[in-house]
Symmetry: C2
Subunit: 381 residues, 2 copies
């Protein structure tokens, strides 16, 4: 692999990703300033830092979703989580954008907790574990500030009655050859995983099905997840539902310098888990890969490279409190004025504060988390 | 295909079947007189005509199930129906044996109505149709005389909450390669059908799972269905459940002389549907293929061949009221004393009477049919 090469699939992310080329390869649209300006005006003059800082950079049909919103046909948001263990901070990226959109636009949020799928995907996990992490993860997600009245959860194993009637219709439209091609399934892949894409598609159509009218859906997700929803988009119209729109984020680099903050393959040090102790957080950030130089002298003289730095990614996605601060950190990093050790100390304060606030918010959602889980189908067929 | 050749798979039955060879090919056991004698003694001196007349001829682990029964660990019965349309008389064969066993031994019966699977398997059927036929078929089955207190129904789309937790565990044990080999799936097969075998396996283990102890299962079915349950048997022990035992029937020949009473491919005349009018029944039986000779004179002289006769199959499976009558019909057919026209007139009286009685019984079960449908899981995982 030359430095120019990269791989982005739902199963693998590696190399230095050229996001413009990737967008062209995937055939998605650029998240233009014009679209951001429309969102800015719809939200009464605000934009999430995840939008202004280029974390979200690509989309499918966002313009249509905003058109519909302007015509009094509001979209709903959909995102999901495969509960294989504790969440790490980059898992929050789609949910933080969802929460931001929900708060500004008053739209509904549907969260899918795929405790069945993770059991099928990870031979080492027990059903007890995926169910346990499903609830733990749900608390973390709801604690981001979702509105209890507008947030609905499909906790797969507990919501199967609500999901199944529509999943049956979806499944008939999906030949094995399609999931084999999109997900790279092998003869040894279990039949649960083969079926799963039907259940993952259901939330995209569920409100339309339940309400008997066309309800637009917007899915913020990492660009690596785009292939999943191409399957959904391809079959939407044949079932009489609108294609879900997508808003794609870049991959969030891991603390070890990986292209993505994945911890698959025992790379725990690559991510900040929400259940990490302050000591562990401190240790991971201190050891984190940066875009710094090999000596202080060199860094003072030549500056560092924020774009490849996992600590800069923390500032960028969450911890810079204002646009001004984010620009300052970026400028001082690049100029050599801010050394990596000091930068890490600064971001650690923010990380510790976030963990404290998050833990408090998390306790509060436990009162109402269960009430968000959908357990009954709106209609029998 | 020479006259000696035959094919028996879950998708195709053709040729003159040599059941002894088939049993050897499938690796199943003969239903011996010794086993029948044990059943005879357990039921207090009775045997179903389906057992005495050789309709059931093969098994897997029946001896073990009877051992367990004798040790106060009664088995339950399991059979299913894919509701693609009205039932015909040969669909009743496994259920009639089940009802007979339930009445004599007081055992539980689990019926699975696979309205999801039939929707996946038959592109021409709507969900409304498979759900409609599911309920209609259930009335017909319960009307055979099942005990409301000991009969439980998995109506897939309505029982999914009860089935899914166990289906999730089963599905992880079944690689795509297995279902591809057993069911002959192609790349174009939809992912619903690929998944389905997990749901078909669940009832075999459900009582063991629900009760946290090993509950033996006995499945009466056509020999063509044996490959389905080989998958189930192969994974049973790895999930901690006993292998289901099987009791195999021969194929019931169709009225048109086909090896099996299948009506797939617009062969309506091949079967007596339970919703056929008396006139239609009369017409189908009058046109039915027999083992008779080309002229009356020849038949009087040489006799007919009951083994290849679809009308003899009616006497054999249901309509001969006693062993004596069955032997008489068989003997008089073979000797030439009973001509096909007269034989058809005699059996038609019985068929008409059965339809009348069945219709009355069917009305009565509607009061309690819904109460047999299991809608909740006994435990969350």
């Amino acid at each position: 692999m030359t430095p120019d090469e990269f791989v982005v699939t739902p199963y693998e992310v590696r190399g230095r990703i050229d996001y413009i080329r990737l967008r062209e390869m995937f055939g998605t649209q650029a998240l233009t300033n014009e679209l951001l300006a429309r969102l800015h005006s719809l939200t009464g003059g605000e934009l999430s830092p995840l939008l202004t800082r280029g974390v979200y950079f690509s989309h499918r049909d966002l313009g249509w979703v905003l058109d519909q919103f302007a015509k009094n046909s509001p979209f709903f948001l959909y995102s999901g989580r495969g509960p294989s263990g504790p969440l790490h901070t980059s898992h929050l990226v789609p949910f933080e954008l969802c929460q931001w959109l929900q708060q500004r636009l008053g739209v509904r949020m549907f969260i899918q907790i795929t405790d069945d799928e993770k059991f099928w995907a990870r031979p080492g996990l027990s059903r007890e574990q995926t169910a346990y992490w499903g609830l733990e993860n749900l608390y973390d997600l709801l604690a981001l500030g979702f509105d209890p009245k507008r947030t609905h959860v499909f906790f797969d194993s507990r919501s199967i009655s609500a999901l199944y009637p529509l999943a049956v219709r979806v499944a008939r439209k999906v030949p094995y050859s399609t999931v084999k091609a999109v997900f790279g399934f092998k003869p040894s892949t279990n039949i649960g995983l083969v079926f799963y894409t039907a259940l993952q598609t259901v939330p995209c159509f569920w409100p339309s099905w339940a309400e008997g009218r066309s309800v637009p859906c917007l899915i913020p997700c990492g660009i690596d997840q785009d292939p999943h929803f191409r399957v959904t988009r391809d079959l939407a119209e044949s079932l009489g539902y609108p294609k879900p729109a997508l808003l794609h984020s870049q991959m969030i680099p891991g603390l070890l310098g990986d292209a993505a903050m994945s911890t698959t393959g025992d790379r725990e040090e690559n991510a900040l888990f929400l259940n990490d102790s302050p000591k562990t957080v401190e240790k991971k950030v201190r050891q984190a890969f940066t875009g710094g130089r090999t000596t202080v002298e060199e860094q003072r003289r030549l500056g560092a490279t924020p774009e490849i730095c996992s600590v800069w990614a923390l500032w960028r996605t969450r911890f810079a409190k204002s646009e001004t601060e984010f620009q300052e950190v970026t400028r001082d990093c690049r100029s050599g004025a801010l050394l990596c050790g000091d930068c890490k100390s600064k971001v650690l304060e923010r990380v510790h504060a976030f963990y404290r606030e998050h833990a408090a918010a998390r306790e509060k959602v436990k009162d109402w988390a269960e009430s968000t889980i959908i357990t009954a189908a709106p209609k029998p067929l």
